[in-house]
């Protein structure tokens, strides 16, 4: 029996290799994030001063929606071709293997969105000095979002209009992530210390890491029947 760590690493490597073979799928959420961010000045005002005031909300909602787009396919292909069933039969803890897939999803979607955000922020009048804060806050937030979204993806496996249902299920649960994350971003833009909300975000991430993979595993098993 393969040790758990090696098996989890193998799953992670496979996800990354698959993404390498089809890079356009990684680019799509990033392009979406950029387009959505660009729509706000067009729909509101070109004044950077005013845009800076709404920048935290715009960046967070954009990152959230872009993440949700990619989450729909987190388990779908593996469910369709039988890979998830092989995971269930492998003798490895199912929740950990799904956790590896979720980590891969974050590395391929959440992390790139995070790295993109400060640059999009510049387009919204956000000062460069805010970059480290925005990076830290979005990194934690998108990771928690990936974990929550994995539960939603498991519940909506194979359903028609699964994408819309997934968003409807995940968005209310993501309210704390947005609230703490946007506040941290706001403080970063103002040049103040954001340790308070950042710690709260870290707490959410830890809670998510302990509970979400178990819930996602239960959800996927139900969907596999």
């Amino acid at each position: 029996m393969r040790p758990i760590f090696a098996a989890t690493l193998l799953v992670l490597r496979r996800e990354l290799l698959l993404a390498l073979r089809r890079p356009i799928l990684v680019v799509q959420p990033l392009a979406f994030f950029a387009v959505v961010t660009a729509l706000f000045p067009l729909g509101y005002t070109p004044e950077l001063g005013k845009l800076r005031a709404i920048a935290p909300g715009v960046l967070w909602v954009g990152a959230l929606l872009a993440s949700l787009l990619a989450l729909e396919s987190l388990f779908r292909e593996d469910a369709e071709d039988g890979t998830l069933e092989q995971f269930a039969l492998s003798g490895q803890p199912f929740a950990l293997l799904l956790g590896a897939k979720t980590l891969a999803h974050w590395l391929l979607t959440g992390l790139p969105l995070t790295l993109m955000a400060p640059w999009l922020g510049i387009a919204l009048g956000v000062p460069l000095a805010a970059m480290p804060g925005i990076l830290a806050s979005l990194a934690l937030g998108t990771w928690t979002l990936s974990l929550l979204g994995a539960v939603g993806a498991g519940l909506t496996l194979g359903l028609r209009r699964g994408g819309v249902l997934l968003s409807l299920l995940t968005l209310p649960l993501a309210v704390p992530v947005i609230v703490f994350g946007a506040r941290a971003t706001e403080l970063a833009i103002a040049g103040e210390s954001l340790m308070g909300p950042l710690y709260l975000q870290a707490a959410l991430a830890v809670l998510g890491m302990t509970l979400a993979p178990l819930a996602a595993a239960a959800a996927v098993r139900i969907g596999l029947e």
């Binding site: 029996m1 071709d81 039988g82 890979t83 069933e85």
Partner: protein, 210 residues
């Protein structure tokens, strides 16, 4: 020696009582062929044996020990091949086998090469799976089964979409597996071309609603 005993397996799908008290025993070196009309529950039976579908009140005995369908040790000896081969289209056969079997046990490149040779897939081993025909994909899937070194094979329609050469290959692989002391349960209404002495049969009648 009877290795697998299943007693009184009941499965409901929604309101339909699909499997009603299915019971059978399987010894080493034998293959159980499950037949029945479409919708009789052949696939459901295989999936319940894997633990994917919840069974109500079933008794499972594996190698003399009482077990459950979700037991890890039982799973370690199981190899399941469903309708479609669990292969990723963007990876080639070697990579697929490396990842799929690797989470169960360590396999070397040499092992993978030998398995591909045995199923006659060496020629197209380096092409992305999405460019292989159904028959070629099934061969690679059987290579995965071999590499898993599982004692009990659960096969759902193993010879569908295969030409004569493919069907003979399945027969040979199955015969070799049984000769080594392995067991198989195959759900199919096509003939497996195995020696009659090695075959048990189980006919599932289509269940009416409860």
């Amino acid at each position: 020696m009877t290795e697998l005993v299943v007693n009184n397996l009941h499965v409901f799908r929604g309101e339909r009582h699909v499997l009603r008290g299915v019971s059978f025993a399987l010894s080493a070196g034998r293959c159980l062929q499950v037949t029945g009309a479409n919708g009789a529950g052949k696939t459901t039976l295989l999936r319940s044996l894997c633990g994917f579908v919840e069974a109500e009140n079933a008794e499972l005995r594996w190698c003399g020990r009482v077990s459950t369908f979700n037991d890890h040790e039982y799973h370690a000896e199981l190899g399941y091949l469903g309708h479609d081969a669990p292969l990723k289209g963007d990876l080639d056969a070697r990579e697929n086998l490396c990842f799929a079997v690797g989470i169960r046990r360590r396999v070397s490149a040499a092992d993978i090469g030998a398995a591909l040779d045995e199923v006659g897939a060496r020629d197209f081993a380096d092409r992305p799976v999405r460019r292989l025909s159904a028959g070629q994909r099934r061969r690679v899937a059987f290579a995965q089964l071999q590499l898993g070194q599982s004692r009990l094979w659960l096969l759902d329609e193993p010879t569908t979409n295969l030409d004569i050469a493919g069907q003979h290959l399945v027969r040979d692989l199955l015969a070799r597996h049984l000769a080594k002391g392995g067991m198989a349960i195959a759900a199919t209404h096509q003939t497996l071309h195995l020696e009659a002495a090695l075959l048990d049969r189980l006919e599932l009648a289509a269940g009416a609603s409860a």
